[in-house]
């Protein structure tokens, strides 16, 4: 029934492909949820200094493997009155004199008042702007609370997971962006010229696909000098990940180019007198961007998983860098499972991020070609 197009004004008439895509995407509820979670995660990654209550490296010998404390909102006074005052119930540490095992028991007499947008230890946003205010901070500077527990050095897990978000989410994005450049260049070359160039590029892709991924990861990362500063190592790992993961997208790009090359509107553009570059960038690429974005959003979780696995094995990022993989390395043994299961919280973050990105990617892929559905 698409032939009934009216000449009267209609919102859809002037809707660009992005608007149409958004309309299609909106109908996909899980994908919208995914988009919100991904947006939240990247927001956290960008502004973690303002969100985390403590410095992630701030240790506390008296809070080794401190269990999580629940956040309460209404404080009851002794005289029976109440007020809105978020707080956590403090815990006292006891050491068994025989086994030397420490146990924490809640102590209702000790409370730590918590304040939203309160002042914390001064730090620097992105290492540049000095900031003091935090989304959540103890009312009295110097007091401690652990919403999802503390690790074996008494460092606040919440702060560490939040800081880990920055590295883990950005390594996925950066890695994919790096491989994207390679993909568009090689895939575009392959698809728009064809012939022996296409054959050569495709053989390289096949050769790359034939190589086992995990040994190469391991080999390349093991070859990185251990004494490199964390930033170098971060970029080196990103490059390794993107070198391994580029092939899929290159094929997508090539396929789209091949399909588009014989489309009437591309031939029309050539006959209009457009140069090869203009045909590619003005006429062909816009038809592909939506597909590329969809593929990218499906490739990011792969990168996140890869980074997490490498770091978990101790071959990726190393402390003091904080990523979800590095944090999970702490939870490698049985004792952790028994005594401090909250050390697995970075794993929850990984699952959440990967699931959200996959939902988002699925939704984007379905919405990617708003014109394909016109015939339905």
């Amino acid at each position: 029934m698409s032939s009934i197009a009216s000449t009267t004004g209609n919102a859809a008439d002037q809707a660009s492909q992005w608007t149409l895509m958004w309309w299609a995407f909106r109908r996909h509820r899980l994908a919208v949820l995914g988009l919100m979670i991904v947006g939240l995660l990247y927001f956290i990654a960008a502004f973690v200094e303002l969100l985390a209550p403590y410095d992630p490296d701030l240790s506390n010998a008296r809070a080794v493997n401190h269990p999580p404390q629940a956040l309460h909102f209404i404080k009851k006074e002794k005289d029976g009155g109440w007020s809105f005052q978020p707080y956590v119930i403090g815990m006292t540490q006891k050491r068994d004199p025989i086994t030397l095992a420490t146990t924490f028991t809640p102590d209702p007499t000790k409370t730590v008042d918590v304040q939203f947008f309160g002042k914390g230890e001064p730090t620097k946003l992105w290492g540049i702007f000095p900031v003091e205010r935090r989304l959540i901070a103890p009312k009295v500077l110097g007091e401690r609370f652990y919403l999802i527990g503390a690790d074996r050095l008494g460092r606040d897990m919440l702060s560490r997971v939040l800081y880990g978000t920055r590295i883990s989410m950005s390594i996925g994005l950066l890695g994919v962006l790096m491989s994207l450049v390679l993909d568009i260049f090689l895939g575009g070359l392959s698809g728009s010229y064809g012939g022996w160039i296409d054959a050569t590029v495709q053989r390289i892709v096949e050769f790359k696909l034939a190589m086992p991924t995990i040994p190469i990861w391991l080999g390349l990362s093991a070859a990185l000098p251990q004494d490199w500063p964390p930033t170098w190592r971060y970029f080196a790992i990103t490059i390794i990940l993107s070198l391994i993961g580029w092939t899929e997208l290159a094929r997508v790009v090539r396929g789209r180019f091949l399909a588009l090359r014989t489309e009437d509107f591309v031939i029309a553009a050539r006959l209009d007198g457009c140069s090869q570059m203009r045909v590619i960038f003005r006429h062909m690429l816009p038809s592909m961007v939506s597909h590329i974005i969809a593929s990218v959003s499906l490739a990011i979780p792969m990168m996140i998983i890869a980074e997490t696995s490498l770091s978990f094995l101790g071959l990726g990022l190393l402390p003091p860098t904080i990523s979800w993989g590095v944090l999970l390395k702490e939870a490698q043994n049985v004792r952790t499972i028994a005594e401090a299961p909250w050390l697995f919280s970075p794993g929850v973050a990984v699952c959440l991020a990967v699931l959200a990105l996959n939902f988002l990617g699925d939704g984007l892929r379905d919405a990617a070609d708003p014109y394909a559905q016109e015939g339905r």
């Binding site: 029934m1 032939s3 009934i4 197009a5 000449t7 209609n10 859809a12 008439d13 002037q14 809707a15 660009s16 492909q17 149409l20 489309e263 009437d264 509107f265 031939i267 029309a268 553009a269 050539r270 006959l271 209009d272 007198g273 457009c274 140069s275 203009r278 006429h283 816009p286 038809s287 014109y371 016109e374 339905r376």
Partner: protein, 578 residues
């Protein structure tokens, strides 16, 4: 049990599609009767709801479409197989689309054939298996019996060597053979009603004529009622006993064929027949213009043009085949002249057009183009870079108004693109020129900021034409420019092209499979067959006194929109001498 009892009686049928903007009524209060042994043609342009009507009968409307009200009464006792004295009437509209009751009707009492035989046949099963399956679904027969019945059916639909071709796959069949196989499958259980949804639209005219006569013959043998859906008035004149005209989901006129053709009542029917009849003769406007301005010098001189495609054998070790898509074609085009190239699918006519535009690199021959300054250059040998100047003078209008406009650019960007990249205009001047061009092709300037999806097929084709004339070209190659359009739009677009020819001093190479369009629009015509030009001459002469046997068979197959001429012409089939 009199002859007055219909096989199917559709009463006040309403089918709606749920859309975001509320329900869309695709079939609106439609009633008609199908008589045994008679053909009812449902005619209408695209979007008129004729296909949905047919699909409603079998309850196979695509979701979100739904029958809202009305009755579809199937008198099973009136079908040939179930013929009996006792009435056995069933309301199909009341059945659940997924019920076994409706499934038992489909294929057994009512069979349907579709426009695109390739997509209706499974590519991984042999033709024999698929037809055998259809038989065994409805009747309890052994595999061997089903096979014997299948061979018999294939013979009935005139497929040669039925006992061998039964084991072939659909891709080994030609388009016409596939449609025959589909008909064989439809006939597998001797249905009382055959619904044919544009069964010949995808076929060439010669094949179409054969399929039509086959359906007619089978109908006479079996006494089936046929509901034939088409947009082609020529086909209607050829086969219909009764005609029902649909528009916007409503039945606007209904009657027997002769009275509809000779005494149409509704304005829409008059308009439809008018535009068909208009196309059946040379455009008066063109003749008047030629009398004033006879064609001038030679603009384009194509000599011995060849294009060979290499088909990959699929094997690394074997050399692929060669396909001579255009084989030694020689043509001339004079200024102010319209040259038609007519041929069936696969004749190489589109490839020829694209070779002249140098979309493809050509394999041999010369394309000599004389430009405004009288300089002649051979486009065949020019490198891509030097073609820029020639491509400003030679422009192309494409067949598919949907695929040829980039959906991601606004109309202003689309039409302005050639002006922009050739450095002719930019900024405000470009905008003004685009508005002027839109005016030339009869579109409002407000169209500029819209995207192509906001326009109908005819409007899109106008946008394509505006893009073609933007650079003030001298020659326009129109490749099936009107084939995707409804017949009423076809003559409008052709008239627009003629008007532009007068205003802008254009010459056309018009590629089409449709003789009527060529006859209306072209001064000379070249008939292509298998990559060669078999006949060339002034259009009227070729159309009235064809010399080559292929041209004769092509012309004899064209259905005439005059029911009284039915059966008066002898159809010939061209077979190439080996």
């Amino acid at each position: 049990m009199t002859a007055e009892t219909p096989v199917i009686e559709v009463k006040n049928l309403v089918t709606e599609f749920a859309t975001r903007r509320g329900p869309f009524r695709a079939v609106d209060n439609v009633s008609f009767k199908l008589m045994p042994g008679k053909t009812l043609c449902l005619v209408g342009e695209s979007g008129s709801g004729k296909s949905v009507t047919a699909r409603s009968i079998l309850q196979i409307v695509d979701p979100p479409g739904r029958i809202m009200s009305g009755q579809i009464l199937l008198n099973r006792h009136m079908t040939r197989r179930g013929r009996s004295e006792t009435a056995d009437t069933l309301d199909l509209a009341a059945l659940n689309p997924r019920s076994s009751a409706i499934r038992a009707i489909r294929g057994r009492d009512i069979a349907m054939i579709f426009q695109e035989p390739m997509s209706s046949l499974s590519p991984v099963h042999t033709i024999g298996n698929q037809i055998g399956e259809a038989i065994r679904l409805h009747e309890n027969v052994s595999k061997a019996e089903a096979r014997a019945r299948t061979i018999e059916l294939l013979r009935k639909v005139e497929i040669p060597n039925a006992d061998k071709t039964i084991d072939r796959y659909p891709f080994e069949y030609s388009g016409g053979m596939r449609q025959r196989a589909m008909i064989a499958m439809a006939l597998a259980c001797n249905p009382g009603v055959l619904i044919a949804d544009e069964p010949t639209t995808a076929l060439d005219v010669t094949t179409q004529a054969e399929i039509l006569s086959l359906i007619k013959k089978l109908q006479d043998d079996e006494g089936m009622a046929v509901l034939f859906i088409t947009h082609d008035m020529g086909v209607v004149a050829e086969i219909a006993d009764e005609v029902a005209v649909m528009r916007f989901g409503k039945l606007v006129e209904h009657g027997d064929t002769i009275s509809i053709f000779e005494n149409p009542q509704h304005d829409y029917t008059k308009m439809l027949l008018g535009s068909v009849k208009q196309l059946d003769r040379p455009a008066p406007r063109r003749l008047a213009r030629r009398a004033e301005h006879p064609p001038g010098n030679t603009l384009l001189d194509v000599e011995g043009l060849k294009k060979t495609f290499f088909i990959d054998s699929g094997s690394f070790f074997r050399k692929g085949d060669e396909l001579h898509a255009v084989n030694n074609v020689t043509l001339t085009l004079r200024s102010g002249e319209n040259l038609g190239i007519v041929g069936e699918s696969g004749s190489g006519k589109s490839t020829l057009g694209r070779c002249i535009m140098r979309v493809y690199d050509i394999s041999g021959g010369a394309i000599r183009y004389t430009d405004r300054d009288g300089m002649t250059s051979d486009l065949a040998t020019l490198p891509d870079r030097s073609l820029m100047a020639a491509r400003r003078d030679l422009r192309m209008v494409f067949q598919d108004p949907f695929a040829s406009l980039n959906p991601r650019m606004t109309v202003a960007q689309l039409i302005g693109e050639p002006l922009l990249v050739n450095g002719v205009l930019s900024g405000k001047a470009l905008n003004d020129r685009v508005a002027e061009l839109l005016g030339l092709v009869g579109l409002p300037a407000t169209a500029m900021e819209r995207y192509p999806h906001a326009f109908s097929g005819g409007q899109r084709q106008r946008i394509g034409i505006a893009r073609a004339i933007a650079l003030e070209p001298r020659i326009i190659i129109a490749d099936e420019a009107t084939s995707a359009l409804d017949v009423s739009l076809r003559s409008q677009v052709l008239d627009l092209l003629l008007e532009l020819q007068e205003r802008l001093d254009l010459s056309f190479i018009f590629i089409s499979h449709d003789i009527a369009v060529i006859r209306y629009f072209c001064d000379r015509v070249a008939v292509m067959y298998k990559g060669r030009i078999v006949e060339e001459g002034p259009t009227e002469e070729v159309c009235s006194r064809p010399v080559h046997p292929y041209t004769q068979s092509l012309l004899s197959a064209v259905p005439h929109p005059d029911p009284r001429m039915r059966g008066t012409r002898v159809r010939t089939r061209y077979r190439e001498q080996a």
